[in-house]
Symmetry: C2
Subunit: 423 residues, 2 copies
């Protein structure tokens, strides 16, 4: 689709979306067995006959990325090898093992007029995924959409263009082999921003767009979309250590939340410490987390010589690195005020022995997951028992928190009668 | 807010939204008793001491509407009188009787690591409602948002400006009297379109916008919003009379769906009749629905002399009047194809004696409510047992079908631990 004019580009994207829409009707009534057969075939191809072709496509992406001077860490995220492919295949097999959400009856009631009314889970229809770099998302997203009966249009990053095309081709083969329309999983076929724009503005053809990636990408999609968007914004997550906290527990939670995987969106960014325990907790914390750079408020800096002063901007920053903001606060109210101002609706935790304090924190903090005495790192579909996830929504509409198979569905109403009419 | 420049207008709307946001935090943790007390006070004011003031404000709107030459039917929709106010008050009392959705635990599970994980219903936050004419929506919407713990910003039509202002003032009094922030319910204070634009673009302050009204209004909001929108588009509803239908039942359903309240979005617009029964059904239907103008396909016109030819546009038109499109179709597949092409995701019904046919219709038709052997008029929050509704969503995201109190909430995750960290 490169080098075409605007109008033609939009027409091509809409035609692609129309094919996805037609395919979504078939997929919505496909049986669980049929969908699982496709997924098992995808898994078998991934660590079997298709592996060489995918690795060859990936090698092209890697060469281009290195030629373009991409940072080694980003090149590494792009890279596929036999082991990573096997991991992706195992992820697909795990999705096969999850229950099919389509057709679940979540409400079943017979009204006084005899009308039997049900709410039944059904696919959303056509899902657009706009994402960056890591090619494994191509397979994860396709597998989750297929299992939940949705068609998907994938728009990956330009760095992974060849890898994504090869992976999508593989899924197409598996669909065809099982008698399902190939258009159920498609890629945009270009990274031209105008095509992305056409995709996220294809009202009536695309039911929802899910952006996954950096803040810039998500903002671009949110600002320009004319179809509904489920946002996955940044996680500026807090842990508040209350005046009555078990400080050993607090230390273990802070260490886990900050250090285990600092690049994750559910990693800790700002530690709020109650003034009553700051003197006991902060110097010990600074020693225990010696590999973490500390950006502190004035009181923190007085207690921890190695801390540097935090700027106003730091409080709103998702560092995604071994950097921790630290602020001493006067009581729960001050902690709540800080979180209301700087939180990102993602994950917030309190460490306290006081049940009432925990309850108030849970009630008054707005976030997709609020924890009492546990690490922020639990905000994850696998950890919370969903089995797999499409990302973590920070939109309150439709899905708030990890999006599993159920969150890729809607609930529609079905009514069975014997001729009922309205009085 | 009239006669101010663009920048100032946007700043004022954002300041209003910020006050609503602050109020929403208070409202989210208000008790059921406190919210119900506000609602009971609203009801008491409506058919008591505040009635005169509201009727006086309404009289100004009526006079202006008549002076502007508004159609009598529209003037009538605007008009409030003591009886209508009493009806609105009763509606508010009915909302008091509904269960408070906030705090409902819909999922409660202890993971193998001992972490107790719950999904808990919580308010969305700040809801913007953009609506037209009928002033009773002001109270209905405010009451539903209050009960579900949400702050609301109301932007009504300019024809009802004075009535809406008086009604919102009354709600403000009730909030103040019960110690809740008045900013929990506010009106935009202007019908300047630039202010509406600022409202629907107030990302980070407004959580969702719900447009209610004609297609033009909904399109304006959908195309321009930068906050999530729950659409309430038109209802082009179908009844398909299958080859094996009980034709007496079909007649009763068609009559009820078309005639009982043709201006409703769940009224029938297009009748699809199987070719096998067209000859028996259509002439009798034309006699029985003598007050309804018929726009038919070629075969319908041959069977019913009084029918006029339907245009392509008719099949996509929500007539909202005593006009019915009629098409003879060859079997269920042709009916499904017609609905896939012309349906509006609103309400679709089949009349059949064959269970398998009904099941296939339910599975393959995409609509917020699909009925077997019942009238389309049941797609309504009261009729389906929700108790009250904010409208009928034709978005599949978040809410699909009637939106009751639960649909004005999100589900957030809460986890209680004893120091769990992620391995």
């Amino acid at each position: 689709m490169q080098d075409v004019d605007q109008e033609q580009l939009v027409a091509e994207v809409r035609a692609l979306a129309q094919r996805a829409r037609d395919a979504s009707r078939v997929l919505a009534s496909a049986s669980t067995a049929q969908k699982d057969a496709v997924l098992l075939r995808v898994a078998a191809l991934l660590d079997g006959p298709a592996a060489d072709e995918i690795l060859a496509a990936n090698a092209k992406d890697i060469a281009a990325a290195e030629a373009a001077g991409l940072a080694p860490a980003l090149v590494d995220r792009l890279r596929l090898d036999a082991k990573r492919l096997a991991g992706v295949a195992d992820g697909v097999r795990a999705i096969v093992d999850l229950p099919d959400p389509v057709g679940d009856v979540v409400h079943d009631r017979t009204l006084s007029n005899g009308l039997r009314v049900q709410r039944v889970r059904a696919p959303l229809g056509v899902i657009g995924i706009v994402y960056e770099s890591r090619p494994n998302v191509t397979i994860d997203a396709a597998a989750l959409c297929l299992k939940s009966g949705n068609a998907v249009i994938l728009r990956g990053g330009k760095e992974a263009f060849e890898s994504n095309a090869a992976l999508a081709k593989l899924v197409g083969e598996a669909l065809r082999a099982e008698g399902l329309p190939e258009a159920a999983v498609s890629t945009l076929g270009t990274t031209d921003r105008r095509a992305t724009l056409a995709l996220i503005q294809a009202s009536g053809l695309v039911d929802v767009v899910i952006p996954r990636g950096g803040e810039g990408l998500i903002r671009f999609v949110t600002e320009n979309a004319k179809v509904p968007v489920i946002q996955h914004f940044k996680g500026v997550c807090h842990v508040y250590v209350a005046d009555d906290a078990d400080l050993d527990m607090a230390m273990a939670i802070v260490r886990n939340a900050k250090v285990q995987r600092p690049s994750a969106c559910n990693a800790l960014e700002t530690l709020l410490v109650d003034a009553a325990v700051a003197e006991r907790f902060l110097p010990a914390m600074a020693d225990a987390l010696s590999e973490v750079a500390l950006r502190g408020c004035e009181r923190t800096c007085a207690l921890v010589p190695r801390a540097t002063p935090a700027t106003e901007e730091d409080w709103d920053t998702e560092h995604l690195a071994l950097v921790l903001n630290v602020r001493v606060v006067e009581g729960l109210d001050a902690a709540l005020t800080h979180i209301a101002r700087h939180g990102s609706l993602h994950t917030e935790a309190i460490v306290t022995r006081d049940k009432a304090k925990g309850q108030r924190f849970v009630r008054e903090v707005d976030a997709s997951l609020v924890l009492v005495n546990a690490s922020t790192r639990f905000n994850d579909g696998y950890q919370l028992g969903l089995g797999a996830e499409m990302g973590i929504s920070t939109s309150k509409l439709h899905a708030y928190g990890p999006m599993g198979l159920e969150e890729l569905c809607t609930l529609r109403w079905v009514a069975h009668g014997e001729g009922q009419i309205r009085k």
